[in-house]
Point group: D2
């Protein structure tokens, strides 16, 4: 029986690499994969999905107003065996419902990779609906600098954790770092300077 | 390092039995457990927590306005080694934040057992905040009559699935049954008569 | 698709309680459960399976020479929907192969609860074959006194960890305690006196 | 607390890619990784570890007679923060015990990636000892052609499943394919011609 999967992880947990390896494994088994990701704006079309470790693939970009179920039933992709979604937290609620319908009615597995929460520990629209509807919820783990599991995506501006602002900042220059909740709270309370990885 | 756990399951997945077995195991290891559950109204005090299989224990009932962190720091319970919560979906958002603070600041593990979603596949306030803040999210599984995993808690009235109404109906006579999403959608669409277990 | 499950846990991890709750959940869904456990000797027949927390049920005791697949196909039990095994580590290799054949040929799920390793950290015959053939390997967790996860079943005699002897001692008076590997090794090396739970 | 992990998967489940992504994630967090794999012969030294998807890294090759704990304590690698092992099923029992000691005594996490069983569904020496001693046993999943989870590594010669032979055939020309147990048994019983992936 086909299932809807939500594979969530914090920033830097290699979610895109996992999505691309999963795609590779299906294709090695002679199965056809439809790889998609949401668009932050209304531009439609193909793009390149890149993981930091160096894997990449062509991805179809889906604007928020597109009905994914209707597009799936269109001639172009209808013969795929599995759907893989990257950055699924940015899908709309309606789009998650459409993916759910594809699983239920077409018996096609759908694997969604994405963030759980925003920089204020709040679910995104897509991740909230997946937490409600997914058949399988699995964590892709990463670590806080303290050694504990990272679960919070802190937004960093000028070296400090940001605690106000929009959920998504288009074209913003902020950085994000995955932290455990205890270090996140302590970082805010003590106004700690946060060192980002790969910086001097 | 202490963690905040959300152990979610659909109706009839033996969540309360799991909570009571967990309590038993901790106590066998000479650890002190604080067993709590939210109150649907403002009555405070002790009650009996009963699982369908026959296990039971005394539970402290916590009204929505109580600050659990403050109560934990009070003299009565402060020396517990672990907190176990049943019906955690009915805690308020603020109360989940208080449990999170107990984990972070007191290094006390908190294990929350409860439902994921309501009869319309929407997160409850407590389960939503746990999906955002829990360090570990684990499913307690149960089955749909079709053999697939049950994920939806359908509200049944006069034998049919209800699709409108309040999230919590105090004193209501409705019944609930755990179903997979496909059977739930088909049951609504085809207006199927649902047979409840243990009934003739 | 039916699966063969190995749900392993250390001493005191409530494996029998989990087996009995699983049985209860299946029966609540109007499914027929065949509950079995291996016999240490050649006595056949029914017995009572009891968990420490107080749950119990009638269990069919299976001697080592019995072909479980053949017995399953016999008239008495053939209409069961699921097989649950307690103390599965004591089944023979051949009996695990027979359970595997029931899963593959009859599409009946088989859930095996038992220990992973003996008092010298070695797999039992039944748990070894399950580690080779199970579709799903899941841990039922319990804790060491130090707070870490317990994985080793130490045999205690006169308060000290035993490091020699037979894998199974029939009628022995030894006790067992679950420990993490580090405390187990330190306990042997430093010849520590081990305090058993529930004793003074 | 550091742990010993066994991340097992069947042929073609991207175990090496997972090992290399894990290495990348640790290094991104400014941690030092010691990447090793067993040698089938006594040649020591460095080699290139390559995953089918295209990732690669330099790996230290460890012959069977090397004491990994002693080598870890040697000056060259002693400051690593984590050890990652590929093809761990080919380590000796003694070497798994040495890794266990590194975890317990040095508090260094050790992540072992490898096969569970050979072409006759029997544990390898390294995977058996890991099934006994690992703190965490996790499956890296892959699929049988029938859609079920693959758990058996069938050895194929001239298009047919092989049921006799040595556990490891150095320089052999055989191929392997991951299958579910039911398809494996049926393939042998019905002497089916097995189609390998990526072949015409």
């Amino acid at each position: 029986m086909a299932k809807l999967y939500f594979k969530y992880g914090a920033m830097g947990s290699s979610k895109t690499a996992q999505a691309l390896i999963t795609k590779y494994n299906y294709e090695e088994n002679d199965m056809k994969v439809w790889l998609i990701k949401p668009s932050a704006d209304t531009r439609d079309g193909a793009a390149i999905l890149r993981s930091r470790i160096g894997l990449e693939a062509t991805v179809e970009v889906i604007p928020p107003e597109v009905d994914i179920h209707a597009r799936f039933l269109g001639s172009r992709v209808r013969r795929c065996d599995v759907i893989i979604v990257d950055e699924c937290q940015f899908l709309t609620e309606a789009q998650i419902d459409q993916l759910r319908a594809i699983v239920d009615e077409q018996s096609i597995p759908v694997l969604c990779f994405g963030l759980r929460t925003d920089f204020l520990t709040r679910l995104f629209p897509g991740s909230r609906r997946l937490m409600e509807l997914a058949d399988v919820i699995e964590e892709i783990k990463t670590m806080c600098d303290c050694g504990a599991k990272a679960t919070v995506n802190a937004r960093i501006s000028d070296g400090y954790i940001v605690t106000e602002g929009a959920q998504v900042v288009l074209g913003g220059n902020d950085s994000y770092i995955a932290m455990c909740h205890r270090c996140y709270v302590n970082g805010i309370r003590e106004h700690k300077k946060i060192k980002l990885h790969g910086q001097n």
